[in-house]
């Protein structure tokens, strides 16, 4: 891909609504078209793809690693890998599914490395995860009544705590299915496992969540 040639086409940036499959409003450029343009070296098209999908990638990573700075860096790594791997993308899967697969790999690599790094080292950040301001500016604000806000805040905290108690595999399966809305087959592709494994993970993750959140 020729980056230098493509800089000039940066100007094609337009309003970019986000949707799960990348197939939104009729006037919106489809992921497939953008990918095609990226393959021709159009960095402007890639910039649109990034703007369109960065929110979902960042949210997914943030929910897995629970640290704003790391999530930011990892999201950058994901898109750098996407750019590098785009020439090999064959469109057998949806672009968003393929992107989640790269996100999955980046997050698991980070977790493995993190596990090794902290093996002999106590990291306060891991013990005090609740102290981290998750997406301070980016979290959508909605004005609620104080009592309503308190109750919503409690529910949210309970749900986040419960999600953290799940294994990474169960948490990711729940997030991909219930939050991101992926099909079972897509989850299997993202997590590189069989459909049966997805069903089983979903079954046990839901059971565990229900047990952990019995009072909400």
């Amino acid at each position: 891909m020729n980056f230098h040639r493509s800089i000039a086409s940066n100007l094609i940036k337009g309003p970019v609504p986000g949707d799960a499959g990348g197939e939104g409003a009729p006037d919106e450029i489809s992921d497939a078209e953008l990918v095609g343009r990226c393959k021709e070296g159009d960095y402007g098209a890639f910039d649109i793809l990034v703007t369109k999908h960065r929110g979902r990638v960042y949210a997914m990573i943030q929910n897995m690693v629970k640290n704003e700075a790391d999530s930011w860096d990892l999201a950058q790594e994901v898109f750098l890998k996407v750019w590098k791997a785009l020439p090999r993308f064959e469109a057998r899967a949806r672009f968003s599914t393929w992107m989640y697969r790269i996100t999955h790999n980046v997050v698991y690599d980070w977790m493995r490395k993190r596990k090794i790094d902290i093996a002999g080292d106590l990291d306060d950040n891991l013990l005090d995860r609740e102290a981290i301001a998750a997406g301070a500016l980016a979290t959508p604000a909605r004005v609620s009544r104080p009592d309503e806000a308190l109750s919503q805040g409690e529910t949210r905290a309970n749900i986040e705590n419960a999600l953290e108690k799940l294994s990474p595999e169960h948490r990711e399966t729940i997030l991909l299915r219930e939050v991101q809305g992926l099909e079972y087959k897509e989850i299997a592709d993202v997590m590189d496992c069989s459909l049966g494994t997805v069903m089983s993970r979903l079954f046990y993750a839901r059971k565990k969540l229900q047990t952990l959140l019995i009072n909400i």
């Binding site: 929110g55 860096d73 997406g135 500016l137 749900i159």
Partner: protein
């Protein structure tokens, strides 16, 4: 019925995704465990709360910087790729036997370069070095009245960031290690791969 199959049917029933055939297969399970209906109702409520509480999409902090920094990474990566491509191609055609004979010569050259470097470091003195932020590190701020300087003292392996025009930073702002951000002031500092 095998447990795997039962789990699959249950999972898909929760998602309202059973075909008529599968529903027939699932009916005896439902008949023998009527509490499953209640469990499903509780799960659907939980799912609703989960979707309300966990956002599907969260824009990363400083999204404009996110894109511009990524562009910079892509550019750097491509530059590195181009740089390696030429010599790497030449290297590949090198005969392995020649490489074998060259190994001691390369080792000597590395040792010589190391000693030379040690010597020049001593001559160079220990005064702090002012580094242009654009050359290596990045200090980003969307505020036009904020200026930054990066001062590196290589000898003590320390870096000083001078940020002018911001409200004072608290200790907790600076404690996050590899880069930090602060929603109120609107800045992001990435010093991860700089020095």
């Amino acid at each position: 019925m095998k447990n795997d199959r039962k789990e699959e049917l249950l999972t898909r029933w929760m998602d309202d995704g059973l075909s008529d055939e599968e529903m027939k297969e699932f009916a005896p399970i439902l008949a023998s465990s009527p509490e499953l209906r209640e469990e499903r109702a509780r799960f659907l409520l939980l799912r609703e709360k989960l979707r309300d509480s966990v956002p599907r999409e969260v824009d990363p902090p400083f999204p404009d910087y996110f894109n511009s920094h990524l562009e910079k990474l892509v550019k750097a990566d491509q530059k590195a790729g181009e740089g390696i491509e030429g010599p790497a191609r030449g290297f590949a055609v090198f005969n392995r036997r020649w490489l074998w004979w060259m190994a001691p010569a390369v080792t000597c050259a590395v040792v010589f370069a190391f000693l030379l470097g040690m010597k020049s470091a001593k001559i160079g003195g220990s005064s702090p070095m002012l580094v242009d932020a654009a050359a290596g590190s990045e200090v980003y701020s969307p505020l036009p009245n904020v200026s930054t300087k990066v001062i590196v003292d290589r000898e003590s392996d320390s870096t000083l960031l001078v940020v002018e025009g911001l409200a004072p930073l608290s200790d907790s702002d600076l404690a996050v290690g590899a880069g930090f951000s602060d929603g109120h002031h609107g800045f992001y500092v990435n010093v991860k791969e700089t020095y």
